[in-house]
Symmetry: none
Subunit: 192 residues, 4 copies
DNA sequence: CATGAATGAGCCTTCATTCAT
DNA sequence: TATGAATGAAGGCTCATTCAT
């Protein structure tokens, strides 16, 4: 019935989509294992495809990096307003949202490192994170300020970068507890 | 007879020392300009020596990195007890000492990044920093805890790594104020 | 019964012919723009077909090149006898025919270059040009020799290659006037 | 006696110079065999050195090409005034000089091809040839014009490019006689 | 001891060609 | 038959490291 219209649009992409999924999985794993600078060949090998396939799907390394992390960044961004609506106070929502962000970063070893790199290949990644998350963070900070819970002059951009930096190296080293440090940082924001 | 060789030895040493000094200066400048991953040849060129000379003096990159920063780490380490003795309260001493550390890091672009790298070449650097500074930080934290100024359970190692991480990227980006974030972190330590 | 298959065959042919025409146009444009070494994909994209379609129609690059230029080579070849019949003297006919050839070449940027290439992909092209044009040139030269207008010992093959070579790079460089040089070359053939 | 000053300047370069010579020989041979686009690796292999050695001596391909042909271009350039002084008439000198140039080109298969390439890597080569040879050709043309031997309006740049183009493919093909065609071209210049 | 020439592994990227859909 | 995804060989270039001078 509707099978005609269903078939018409995607067609050939069955295998290509499978490949793209394999590529993203392989890249994600490779980024964790060896950092986002991992050689393209290694990713290709892990995905069981030729290098050309990677270049076809993701012409630049930035395209690949963004693709790997896009879904999770989106989910994080969307969680902000939801937490604000559901939580008791704005400050609680802020803490929970930051925890969400931290959990995301520290489970993706190498991502926090990539976020602070100023290499050209990462500019797009950097920009994508900021474009998506700074407004959300801003909203949460504003609400907490309006509720008289935290200092007024805090900058969302700086705070997110700080949180991101604190997550660097977490996961490699059991002696380094990024979550605790982020809590201290947020605690430092509180009035009184 | 052997007066020649006797003379020869100190002379060589003088040369070698001069060379080592030039090397360290060049490496320091190169690290600031291009990060601690800067090509060996660039350092050699800046120092006006051949690459072989660098390898002779510093067989591994870690040896060079540690040598470059040793004096400043020492100075920082020694400042800890002095501040504790001179400052009004342990907490004031802690804040001042952390500021000293932060100033050191953010004026050495690339150093904070190197400290968090888990590349083999940087292990020695990492270890040297921690060996030297963790005990000092511990001492300051203990004093502040004993004075009832900060939370008791804080770990010096984690704190120093966090402070180091917060310094990453400072200096490249006027929108990122690492000093402010470190202040918030330390503020988060305070009781009440 | 077989009316269906009878209809089917011409229909396919119509499609195929349309495709082939689009391909030749696209290839012609691409050759002009980027030389006959232009990537197959570029031609396919310009033609709006897949690369596979090109390989189906023209298994080797030479096949495609010859197909692109066949019509114009034919037209040039056929103009020879016509000019000989219409012009006042054989020498005039020769000059006009050479000018025709030169105009053809210098309006197809990259073609003269391709003609002199000894790459395997161009052998067929080379051969086709020569098979078709050398006899015509020979006829014109013979007539001019018979009329006592030019030196007798001239070889059509060499002359055509020389004229082709002189056309290389014409059109890129306003300081290089291929037509003028070809005129000098033909002038050099004249007796006296 | 003067051995001290002799030794002081060159030193280490003994092997390096040997290598450079080997490189130029290998490159020259490789250019002839495979054109000036020959892979760097092939040249390195032929010379028995690593690719790095080539890049050390000749940072760009253009540097290598110019180095390979410099001596012979110089010799050709210097022969111009000498021929003009020694030959009976300017036209004779011109013919002999052009023959010298032609002999040079057709014994370096691939060189004439490279000269007409507009690839970036060859710009320097192109420029070097023209800078060095156009003035010499101009001088010879001027003298022949002044002697009333050839047409006055001939441009040295265009003539040299034409001669160069006529030499393309000579040597691969016994049926193509570039020398003869160049003679015809120069004959075309003659008055009457 | 210092030098810097040489080495070559290793990464990136492009594209001709094949073949499953 | 047409498509275009996938492949992988090929070539460019950079540097860490070694070693003859």
């Amino acid at each position: 019935m509707d099978s005609g219209s269903e078939r018409a649009v995607p067609r050939k992409r069955a295998d290509a989509r499978r490949n793209e999924k394999a590529l993203l999985d392989a890249a994600s794993a490779a980024f964790v294992a060896s950092g986002v600078d991992v050689p393209v060949r290694d990713i290709a090998a892990k995905a069981g495809v030729g290098v050309g396939t990677i270049y076809r799907h993701f012409p630049t390394r930035a395209d690949l990096i963004v693709a790997v992390y896009r879904h999770q960044i989106e989910a994080c961004a969307e969680a902000g307003p939801a937490l604000l609506a559901d939580s008791g106070t704005p400050h609680t929502a802020l803490v929970q949202w930051i925890n969400l962000f931290v959990d995301f970063l520290i489970t993706k070893h190498g991502l926090a490192e990539a976020l602070q790199s100023d290499a050209a290949a990462f500019q797009t990644l950097h920009a994508y994170f900021l474009d998506r998350l700074v407004p959300v963070c801003d909203q949460l900070l504003d609400a907490a300020v309006a509720a008289g819970e935290i200092r007024p002059e805090t900058d969302a951009y700086g705070l997110l970068r700080g949180v991101g930096n604190l997550c660097i190296g977490a996961g490699n080293d059991p002696r380094y507890d990024a979550r605790r440090l982020v809590q201290l940082l947020i605690a430092g924001l509180r009035l009184r």
